[in-house]
Symmetry: C2
Subunit: 214 residues, 2 copies
DNA sequence: GGGCTACTTATACACTTGCACAACAAGGCC
DNA sequence: GGCCTTGTTGTGCAAGTGTATAAGTAGCCC
């Protein structure tokens, strides 16, 4: 009796990845409060002591988990821009659509985003991780906007470009939140349609055809 | 020695209010983790045991604190709409401006908002408090939008009105977040200007005069 | 001023937490 | 096959948690 538990040795990278994933799961489900070392370890299928073998402490584990989350989010978002052969306007629309549907619109991701961001004002490391992700995202937006306007023969100055990027970023963020928190209040594709309309209105693009008032 | 601490008896309402305020302060500064009964009590100038005299448990205290926060936020926001004598368009602009400046744009408030919202997916009570505040806010937006469009002789149907309200709500929320998280990146009034432009573009209002591209 | 009430303090307790560390065994190497 | 490294487990511990409850006292009423 009292047999020692069997275990397998995993590669370093694999274990770290599993622990980070278990951490994100735990935080999403139980919050920072409930994401204890024991909870995380249980979810990862190991015992709590092992965590200290891979991370100096709980704080570092949480920071790495957040960095991984931010990286994954912005990566997915930017991937939508990589459709070559399409017109700038089409790419912008695809970008908006991608950001306003699953898997980016997701209650679990939102829960993580909010939980970590709530600590950003007190934790410079988290704040920096967020800031970098945000600026990267906004720069992508600004680049597409420049292409779209160039295709329309318009030459906005840097300030106007920046304002457009800020506004479009806000539109996407705001709709993303609404979708995450109350997804069932919107029909499929509705958020993306609202987003595309709002973004094109912001840029002063003439509506393509249908869906105009009056 | 070992003298018992001196204390004053405060009225019930006053104590509850103080405790809720101390709770919000503690959550904003230390997060849900660090907001322990002892921390909260210390901030409120009482001892931890007293909290149980006013609240059944920590959970109820947190819920009441969040409800108070949401109530205060939406109240401030809606107050900006109560300027009679102004045109609908002016009121809408004032509404946007109020929501994109202090005291609504504030790092502490954002931290609280994010922290609590991160738990909303797991805590139905928090989720409901948020949902009610959000819908109230959006209904206000929808009402002003209806007035603005009516003044322009336009008759949008219910679906279009709803879409406008959702989009405008998103614009305000998104810019609010940007301002809270990176206020120093924007010059005073810049966010509000961006917000007004975006909102008016969404509604298809002709620009008043300056600030047009080209 | 004396007494009552209930607001407030202080102490106790069972439990959880992050972390430290010794014991152990999985899997590669010879 | 035996050994050795080190990934992994299990136990222990001090600090801190929310809650329960006894003890004390501030302030009002008479």
């Amino acid at each position: 009796m009292n047999a020692r538990r069997k275990f397998r040795r995993e590669g370093e990278e694999r274990r770290r990845q599993d622990l980070i994933e278990a951490t994100l799961d735990s935080v999403a489900e139980y919050g920072l409060q409930g994401a204890t070392l024991r909870t995380i370890a249980l979810r990862a299928g190991v015992t709590a002591g092992l965590i200290r073998h891979y991370f100096p402490g709980k704080e570092e584990l949480l920071q790495e988990a957040y960095t991984a989350l931010v990286g994954r989010m912005t990566e997915q978002a930017k991937a939508a821009l990589a459709m070559d052969g399409a017109s700038p306007r089409q790419r912008l629309a695809a970008f908006v659509t991608a950001n306003l549907n699953a898997p980016i619109v997701d209650a679990r991701v939102f829960s993580l985003w909010a939980t970590f961001l709530g600590r950003a004002s007190a934790d410079p490391t988290l704040a920096r991780a967020h800031r970098e992700g945000y600026l990267g995202f906004r720069n992508e937006v600004e680049a597409v906007v420049a292409e779209v306007l160039a295709a329309e023969q318009r030459k906005p100055d840097a300030s106007q470009l920046r304002h457009h990027a800020i506004a479009i970023n806000a539109i996407i963020d705001g709709l993303w939140i609404e979708g995450c928190l109350a997804g069932e209040m919107f029909s499929p594709g509705e958020l993306a349609a609202i987003g595309i309309n709002a973004v094109e209105a912001e840029l002063g693009l003439a509506p393509l055809d249908q869906f105009q008032e009056k």
